[in-house]
Symmetry: D2
Subunit: 265 residues, 4 copies
């Protein structure tokens, strides 16, 4: 099994920009598959490198059977007081042992209240079926240190937000899984290209214009704003499902300003 894992892991290159796909819903809050498909056709014209999904342990086999190249597994967090390194290492090890496709760790403290501890990341980086990590915490020292301490294992680090994408490339990340890629996908791919070709001055100018739009669709206004912005840029965003609330008029104006003041609208 280890051998096939290693082969699977070797097969998959995570570098590049990934949008965590926003899901369009119908008026009845069912998934709107037709609009989702139209979005995917549009995304297909942007040089993204793949697609991920967050999954619970039980979903990995289904995801693999459905054609997933890899699974993105968020930290379990309800009993967060008990989620120490020991528990998290065992959890991810079990998932990676049984998953037919490679596993990517996912640490997103803003949502889970839990940061995957560094020692757990380093130990899990040695598992043959664990490819890398999506780190949304944004602690750039930690991201640099993960790159540094795993450099002999080809462990791949992905920035979890467009707000620190350039800095993450700067310290050795290979890409990003960025909500903003649902809206400004081509721009993020351009930022990637500038970083990879060492054109840091141009990268800085572009990066700076992306911070406010990114903050708007993530920590400030969240998924409702992401979906609204998608509409402005020709994608189907649609409504959110409750308990997420639609934007107020004031919030929508603020969102528009965060894009327009940076020259995107």
């Amino acid at each position: 099994r280890t051998q096939s894992h290693a082969a699977a892991a070797a097969r998959l290159d995570l570098s590049g920009i990934y949008p965590p796909i926003a899901t369009p819903f119908t008026a009845k809050e069912d998934v709107d598959y037709q609009k989702l498909e139209e979005n995917l056709h549009k995304y297909a014209k942007i040089p993204f490198k793949g697609q991920t999904t967050r999954a619970t342990v039980q979903l990995t086999e289904k995801m693999a059977a459905a054609g997933a190249d890899a699974v993105l597994v968020v930290t379990p967090c309800y009993y967060k007081g008990k989620m120490d390194s020991r528990a998290l290492i065992q959890h991810y090890t079990k998932v990676a042992d049984s998953s037919p496709v490679p596993v990517v760790l996912y640490s997103v403290p803003a949502n889970t209240g839990l940061d995957l501890p560094l020692d757990a990341v380093l130990q899990l980086s040695q598992h043959p079926n664990i490819l890398g990590i999506k780190d949304s915490a944004g602690d750039i020292s930690r991201i640099g240190l993960i790159v540094h301490k795993t450099k002999t294992q080809e462990f791949q680090v992905l920035a979890g937000s467009a707000g620190f994408l350039m800095a993450a490339y700067c310290v050795g990340a290979v890409g990003g899984v960025c909500a903003l890629a649902n809206v400004l996908g081509p721009q993020l791919c351009e930022l990637e290209r500038l970083c990879l070709s060492g054109r840091w001055e141009e990268a800085r100018v572009l990066q700076q214009r992306l911070i406010e739009p990114n903050a708007a669709v993530t920590r400030n206004l969240g998924v409702p704003a992401l979906k609204q912005a998608m509409e402005w840029f020709g994608f189907h965003g649609g409504a959110c499902r409750s308990p997420l609330q639609p934007l107020t008029e004031a919030e929508a104006q603020r969102l528009r300003r965060d894009f327009s003041s940076n020259g995107w609208l």
Copy 2:
């Protein structure tokens, strides 16, 4: 509908002590229904007043059809940055509007990272199908204030932990949903009786002996400790499901000491 809700709500008295039932698992991590049934027979001999379950919105109808008298609905929390009063009021209002049985709010920041805001509690307390709240945060000023501000609505406040049960009765709560009731159920019912009959000196002595065992099976060592202690007291606790880890030997000794030093073992 409002009328039937009001009737349903009127029907149900939440006062008393409730154990959030621990679920025994088989070696394969399936629910062990036989052992669960045996536990329930034992619990039936303790003067508990009912049974609750945390549920997502979609589960309330199933729960009602299965015979639940009420549903305990935890705050949604994954996108916690967006879970403001507006979103939470709308969420609970929708659930309560559609639930065939009364709804009890459930705020447990230690697990969810989110405290149901006071203004949301006060507004929701006016819904005819919302009976009360299980408050596990343990902010006794807040609990007293909720009682004070809802006194004309017969809104029922339940302490979410045995550690502050006596203090909660003291400021006007009507009962508790306490993990410790899975282990020391008779003692918690005795504490209730002492509080309700105004024997506060005796209540204090008993309450003080319950704080350490309670902390051990909740915030300190959690569900694995609860299940271990259940075994010591003649219930089926059994194993936890991953990622919760079994107690280490040192933790088990510490757990035992927290019960024995208070005279329970």
Copy 3:
């Protein structure tokens, strides 16, 4: 020295209600000693039991020389990441060893970001020159446990806020150091009397009417609100020193409502 400490500690009974005195300033932000004195004359007619001050280690001798009966020593907190039990035990032990008057521990996480750990409290409770603790965190389980674990040492626990004063008495505290006592001192002393004489029903009604005014002058609007409310009740509150800001008109109205809706104005 231990003997004289023990004698000193034995001499002082901390039970009762204490106002942490608000300091009036002149227009130039100097201390207004005349108005302070007038306040003290008014306070003298309320059955408070004493007066404390928070002090750094270096101030204790000055305070004793100036006539202080005891010193209230807040946890050091700037390097809070390093303030573990070891450091805090050593800190307070040094202070208590050298202080001519008894020491009262003071834990106020809302201001310091640091809770004095339980094990440190328990160890320090054995020092002959440490009399008790002012606990402003409001974790009533913890307060009950401190009382329980120190009952053989006559260690005295004081509630750090009027919001949980009754609950604190209920679990064994001997008094409170309450900002609200600068405004509603007689009412807090009445609450004390009701608790100590076992008239818990009346105590509950009074306690509930104090929670909102207390929250207003502490965590919600803070010292500027405390000083404004003092003016309304015949004391000299006066201005705050920068960077604390005066209340806005809307805040002043909200403050008034928190007192008037509970029947105090």
Copy 4:
């Protein structure tokens, strides 16, 4: 006054690497001026650009009279619940209005529990006597955004820690005030040179080797570790003052390993 402020501000270029000077103490915990002077002689041979000190408002005139080129003013934080943008803007405006030398803002949430809000930073950046900010929070998106939003004001941003120094340069910072500069000053100045000359690949290798030593002398082991490491590198570190505790033997070994495993010892 504004004119002289503008002139003063124009005079001072903050770019470069600054050590927040560690203070050696004698056995009696007095400042050891002789050893401090020896350290300063050694520091003088490293291409640092200046020297700063954190100061309260009342100290700025003394600091200027004593020859300070600028003052670094930490956010006030004891009543942190009241330290909103309004209060902080007024505080810093008053300080900057009266300070004879330029002011640098200082936000260090790990110590103060308070982050200077972005809107306050942006408004204060327009004050003629406020030169820049030392940002120790390490949120690289925020640092990039501050640079972006203040680019027309020549507001200078300094990284508050060596762990994210390269990333900060990458997004537009002009330097750093880094505890690690007390120990590995030449290396930090080399990192600066690599960043400023666009040699990012070499910079990355060097930056990665600095993250663990930096974490050791800041958030992990703090000032006691900084002083111990200074001794190893030929400076006088000496003891800390209580309540900071000396390193345990295990901590000293861990500290040494963090330097040696990165090739510095």
